[in-house]
């Protein structure tokens, strides 16, 4: 029986500790902190996890994930809100049963993800990055310009119609926190499980040696399409949670800024390890909160501008100094510390090969 390296033991201990803190968070921190920082971090972390899943195990950096989250949110909002006198007026107001709507929204988003994935399945590297970025921008413009399902003003009331097992999240924000926590843990477990299945192994093979895998008879395009569909499914989970958290949807939740925000989270956390998603999300939101509170209304001192300028510089610094983000920094520290020790155990995410241009 192998016990794993000291690094793995340390990581497991930290992970277990983080989970305990997360489970007790509503009793440790203020309501504001739990709702605005932690709940949002868990949800955005799920979105970032879908991005990191594709990038770490498939070498595909997808900028479509924010768009897919938005699609799921908009689908849910249109299906679930009801036409009542004096009620909401935006969207289709289909008034479906919330459980049915929830499942339908996730399935629809996954199906759209499969179509997106099929179109992009033969594009690699920066081509893939560009193509997936156009997906998000098109989705953004679609919900903005098709006034039937939304338009540029917000679709409200999505949080008032939740399935029975979700319960009242408008007044009981702790409920939403725990639901997000459970969803985040499930996504984490799902990804860790998936990459150990035969599909997950061959998917990683496709990442490292596409030509060899193709000559072994694997269908490269199909693997990448399916993985993109799984990524869309995870993003859809994040998307419906985000819709509940916001309570209303406007196209900005899936615009270019939202895409960059998700990418920044994933890059801060580290594009090669799934844990980085939530680490990056917490770090991002803490920085956001701290900086936004300190910026005067007139903008940043000397140069002017808002939080975006600050996060732009932070993002730039991370990409320049440590492209693998905080998790990469952590891995490097262990390597430095472990120079004289025996080689560490195998990590499950091998470094992605440089994208073929």
């Amino acid at each position: 029986m192998r016990l794993g390296s000291s690094k793995q033991i340390a990581e497991r201990a930290i992970g277990a500790g983080a989970l305990v803190v997360a489970a007790l968070a509503p009793f440790l921190f203020s309501d504001f902190f739990v709702n605005s920082i932690l709940t949002q971090a868990l949800i955005l972390g799920i979105g970032a996890a879908s991005l990191i899943f594709l990038s770490a195990y498939g070498g595909m950096i997808s900028l479509a994930q924010a768009g897919l989250m938005g699609i799921a949110g908009y689908a849910l909002a249109n299906m679930v809100t009801q036409r009542v006198p004096g009620g909401e007026t935006k969207g289709l107001l289909l008034g479906w049963d919330p459980t049915v709507a929830l499942i339908a929204a996730i399935l629809l988003t996954t199906a759209i993800g499969l179509v997106f994935g099929a179109v992009a399945s033969r594009s690699y590297g920066i081509y893939f990055l560009m193509l997936t970025l156009t997906y998000t921008v098109i989705a953004f413009l679609f919900v903005g310009s098709v006034t039937l399902i939304g338009g540029f003003s917000p679709v409200a009331g999505v949080d008032e119609y939740t399935p029975g097992f979700i319960g009242d999240i408008v007044n009981d924000r702790q409920r939403l926190y725990f639901i997000s926590l459970i969803a985040a843990v499930l996504v984490y477990v799902l990804v860790r499980y998936l990459v150990r299945t035969p599909f997950g192994i061959s998917f990683q093979g496709v990442r490292d040696e596409p030509v060899r895998m193709a000559s072994l008879g694997y269908n490269i395009a199909l693997h990448r399409t399916l993985a993109f569909g799984i990524g869309a499914f995870i993003a859809a989970l994040g998307g419906v949670l985000y819709a509940w958290w916001f309570g209303q949807l406007s196209p900005t939740i899936m615009g270019l800024d939202a895409t960059i925000q998700l990418l920044v989270i994933a890059v801060i956390g580290g594009l090669r390890r799934i844990e980085g998603a939530w680490l990056g999300a917490v770090a991002f939101l803490l920085i956001n909160n701290e900086v936004t509170n300190r910026i005067p209304a007139s903008g940043l001192p000397v140069i002017g501008g808002t939080f975006n300028t600050v996060i732009g510089f932070i993002f730039l610094a991370i990409v320049i100094v440590s492209p693998d983000g905080l998790m990469g920094l952590w891995d490097r520290l262990w390597e430095l510390a472990g120079r004289n020790r025996p080689p560490r155990g195998t990590a499950d995410a091998q470094p992605a090969t440089e994208a073929s241009g």
């Binding site: 179109v119 033969r122 920066i126 560009m130 156009t134 098109i138």
Partner: protein, 374 residues
């Protein structure tokens, strides 16, 4: 087995593409009707009816498409030039567009001093050319600085470079909103990222009778097309007939071999980045004169550039031209001929067609129409 399935799928996609294209042509030429004939809500009801019914509107939309394609080409050719030589996806291209447009606006306002609602009769050719040159110079040098400081030392790491340019675009877009427009009409509050317009010189403010189906068309828009064609010819001559152009083409084909021949490819890279960035500002001055410069256009123009080069093929001048024309046609005809009636008068489905166009092209050629296999 899977190979055959893929083969059949591609055949089907080709068939679907041909059918969709044929239907679009038949629809625009014959099927489309006006709301007077079939009433609101009919799927065939459009603003003008079919080309046979109303040839004048058809030709005007066609000209709209081609003139818009001219503008698309100016912006996208710069994007494509940078990518073709250096494999850098300049995600800040849209932000450069925005900054260039605002710089030109400020210069024009200073020169004419006529305030916010500038009439085109007050603008001489010089009042347009100087802002245009200043904006191109500023953005060209800014792009050069970004390339030298942030992109030169990590050549070959294309994803990292794309992330770096994303960071640049976030910072530039936010700074632009914080500081522009600086010139606002007296008595109004300065509001960051507000829409402003550049103004074409006075002589363009007229309609030209083209003697085709009674079409009189805006000279300003025709100028836009002429500028696009001019940029295309200039780039073609530069790349085909000059020494720098030869080196650039050699660099596109084989970077290492070119530098092994003793050519300083770094200088060529710098020139390409300078010119490519300047073209973003060129496009912004033209686009800002035709419509406006406003916050949010950075993302829009990044999308336009991406779509054009994804369709046409990265790094190919002909690809950028064909991509611009195809996208211009789809964009303009979709806006004019898709039914926009009923309760949802203002719904625009044209953006969906952008995706359809891209998906169809990529289904057959993942590298774009004129792109070389990666």
């Amino acid at each position: 087995m899977s190979f055959r399935a893929e083969h059949v799928a591609r055949r089907l996609a080709l068939l679907a593409a041909a059918a969709a294209g044929a239907f679009a042509i038949v629809y625009i030429l014959f099927l489309a009707t006006t709301t007077d004939e079939f009433g609101q809500g009919n799927w065939r009801a459009t603003n003008f009816g079919s080309a046979v019914h109303n040839p004048q509107a058809f030709f005007e939309v066609l000209l709209d498409a081609l003139t818009f394609a001219g503008l698309l080409f100016i912006v996208a050719s710069g994007f494509s030039l940078i990518f073709g030589l250096m494999r850098v996806v300049n995600m800040a291209h849209g932000a450069f567009y925005l900054l260039g447009g605002y710089i030109a606006y400020e210069v024009q306002q200073r020169m004419t001093g006529s305030g916010f609602a500038l009439q085109s009769t007050d603008v001489s050719t010089l009042d347009w050319v100087v802002p245009w040159l200043v904006a191109m110079a500023c953005i060209g040098l800014f792009g050069l600085a970004v390339q030298q400081l942030l992109l030169r030392w990590n050549q070959g790491q294309d994803l990292r470079q794309a992330l770096i340019t994303i960071a640049v675009s976030v910072i530039v877009a936010d700074q632009v909103i914080a500081h522009f427009p600086r010139t606002v009409p007296a008595g109004t509050q300065q509001f960051g990222g507000n829409a402003v317009s550049l103004t074409w010189p006075g002589w363009t403010n007229q309609f030209v009778d083209l003697h085709v189906a009674g079409v009189s068309y805006s000279l300003a828009r025709l100028t836009m097309l002429a500028l696009g064609v001019g940029v295309g010819i200039a780039l073609w001559l530069w790349l085909q007939r000059t020494k720098t152009g030869m080196v650039i083409r050699a660099g596109v084909d084989d970077r290492q071999m070119t530098s092994a021949l003793g050519i300083n490819i770094q200088v060529t890279f710098a020139i390409a980045f300078l010119v490519g960035s300047a073209l973003a500002a060129f496009g912004a001055v033209v686009g800002g004169s035709q419509s406006s410069i406003a916050q949010g256009q950075d993302g829009q123009w990044l999308l336009f550039s991406l779509v054009v080069v994804i369709i046409g093929g990265m790094g190919s001048l002909a690809g950028a031209a064909v991509g611009s024309i195809m996208y211009g046609l789809v964009f303009s005809f979709a806006v004019a001929y898709l039914p926009t009636t009923g309760d949802n008068c203002c719904t625009q489905y044209s953006v969906v067609l952008t995706f359809v166009l891209m998906a169809l092209v990529l289904a057959f050629r993942p590298q774009g129409l004129f792109g070389k296999a990666a």
